[in-house]
């Protein structure tokens, strides 16, 4: 009895009653209040099977103010941005764009799950772009796989070598010509935070 009570208090403490409002006030989440909980998004999502919470469930959690559960779920990171849910949503909620927003919020609040390393790949990608102006696929994939999935790296090696020999992967990164002003722009953008309502 005691432990149930304790648990309840902890859950209550972690609730953020303004979470739904916060999302609704972002440009991405403008239509979230019209969610019908119909489940079309979950049915249409090609990744529903491996998500901790399917999109419909995630939206229910947002409504319930379960901010930390939402922001630390794997759902937001596994989303492959295929936009199928946006096409099908009867309430025209921009679900994919909300997922992007939640990813950024989970980084800002340091709640992002450590179980999914997709964000590490994104970070490496961002680094590569800020450094060269373009993404350097070979460097990016090598770095990511070596650090995170060395076994997969070994498996991919023959294909990788074949692609390098055929010119499909470049050994050296291509730097854009006006890198100085590009970096000035990038650092200015990196410094400014998007406002959270």
């Amino acid at each position: 009895m005691n432990s149930t009570l304790e648990k309840k208090i902890v859950v209550d403490e972690s609730l953020d009653n303004h979470f739904l409002r916060t999302i609704a006030n972002t440009p991405e989440g403008e239509r979230i209040l019209s969610c019908l909980q119909c489940g079309t998004c979950s049915a249409t999502c090609p990744l529903s099977g491996i998500l901790e919470y399917t999109p419909r469930h995630l939206f229910a959690l947002i409504r319930a103010g379960q901010k930390s559960t939402v922001l630390s779920s794997n759902t937001i990171w596994i989303c492959s941005s295929c936009y199928q849910c946006i096409v099908d949503c009867p309430a025209q909620i921009k679900i994919t764009d909300i997922m992007y927003r939640l990813k950024r919020m989970s980084m800002d609040t340091r709640l992002a799950t450590r179980k999914v390393d997709i964000r590490r790949f994104y970070h490496l990608f961002e680094k590569s772009v800020v450094k060269y102006g373009r993404s350097h696929e070979l460097g990016l994939i090598t770095r990511y796989l070596l650090l995170r999935h060395p076994l997969q790296m070994l498996k991919q090696l023959p294909l990788g070598i074949k692609m390098i020999l055929n010119g499909y992967l470049k050994i050296f990164p291509h730097k854009i010509r006006d890198l100085t002003s590009f970096r000035r722009m990038a650092h200015s953008a990196l410094k400014s935070k998007e406002e959270t309502p």
């Binding site: 936009y83 950024r104 373009r134």
Partner: protein, 293 residues
């Protein structure tokens, strides 16, 4: 006819064959292609997941560079198309964010007014080039080859340029114009997994196999996709299965430009098919007795 070409990073590496074929068909269609000077990465799904300002700024820099040329900006990559198009939407609807993007651009000595028209290659071919013009260049029609139009996800979605969102038709119409028979299948705009092919390989491969199974079930001889990443993902998934159990069961997977080039140029046709699918090369049916038009 002239267009400004935004390749996107993958056109210079993993999708090199897409770029080669695109430049080849542009020559056949008398389209003058000018590559955007000093373009940079569009940011794709990775950067917008981390920082919206950075994502919009890197995409906007390309548009700012393109603006003074006053030409339609064409990209063969659906992800680049969405990233660039998103900035245009922001400039139409969110002046506040647009001003902030311009502040960042200003640090690099650029400014964007929001006037560049961005096309995905497929949309450009359908709207600006027209099927009639493409038809007039065909020397070796596909002759009733059954072609599966695999649209992939991003170009058929909310920002698609004019095609039907639920039942896209552009590729089907193009295949018909090239003399082939478009094959209907359920997963034609299902996601191939995208970047999950690197971060969650088994998941993405399974998604690709579902699509390939569906296409085989529909009985197609060729698969065509307007997306370089879809082509790469499907090919590598098909390769995986081929090595395990069923050799040569998957039809060859071409990108949009390769399919068109096939019908324009016989020399390339042979080379392609030999490279992509050795067995199909022996079966000379691909454009049986193609006649010069």
């Amino acid at each position: 006819m002239k267009c400004l070409y935004y390749p996107g990073c993958s056109q210079k590496s993993t999708s090199l064959s897409y770029e080669r074929s695109f430049l080849a068909i542009a020559r056949f269609l008398n389209i003058e292609v000018e590559e955007l000077e000093d373009w940079n990465c569009c940011g794709t799904t990775a950067i917008i997941s981390l920082n919206k300002h950075l994502a919009c700024s890197v995409a906007a820099r390309n548009l700012a560079l393109a603006e003074s040329r006053n030409l339609p900006l064409v990209t063969p990559c659906p992800s680049c198309y969405i990233s660039l198009h998103r900035v245009n939407l922001i400039f139409q609807k969110d002046p506040e964010l647009a001003a902030q993007i311009n502040r960042h651009l200003g640090r690099g000595g650029l400014v964007y007014m929001g006037t560049v028209k961005v096309y995905h290659l497929l949309e450009y071919l359908m709207k600006m080039v027209s099927l009639e013009k493409i038809r007039s260049r065909i020397c070796y029609p596909l002759r009733n080859r059954r072609v599966a139009p695999y649209y992939g996800c991003q170009i058929t979605r909310p920002y698609s340029g004019g095609d039907d969102l639920n039942n896209p038709r552009y590729l089907d119409q193009l295949i018909e114009a090239l003399g082939g028979e478009p094959v209907d299948f359920a997963l034609k705009s299902q996601c191939c997994g995208g970047a999950l092919m690197i971060t969650r390989q088994n998941v993405a491969a399974e998604m690709c196999h579902k699509i390939l199974d569906d296409i085989r079930f529909a009985g197609a001889d060729l698969i065509v996709t307007p997306c370089g990443l879809c082509q790469y993902n499907l090919q590598s998934a098909a390769g995986r299965r081929r090595s395990r159990s069923a050799p040569d069961k998957n039809p060859p997977i071409l990108n949009l430009a390769q399919l068109i080039e096939l019908t324009f140029d016989l020399r390339n046709q042979d080379a392609y098919l030999k490279k992509i699918h050795p067995r199909l090369h022996k079966d000379k049916n691909i454009s049986q007795g193609g006649s010069h038009v």
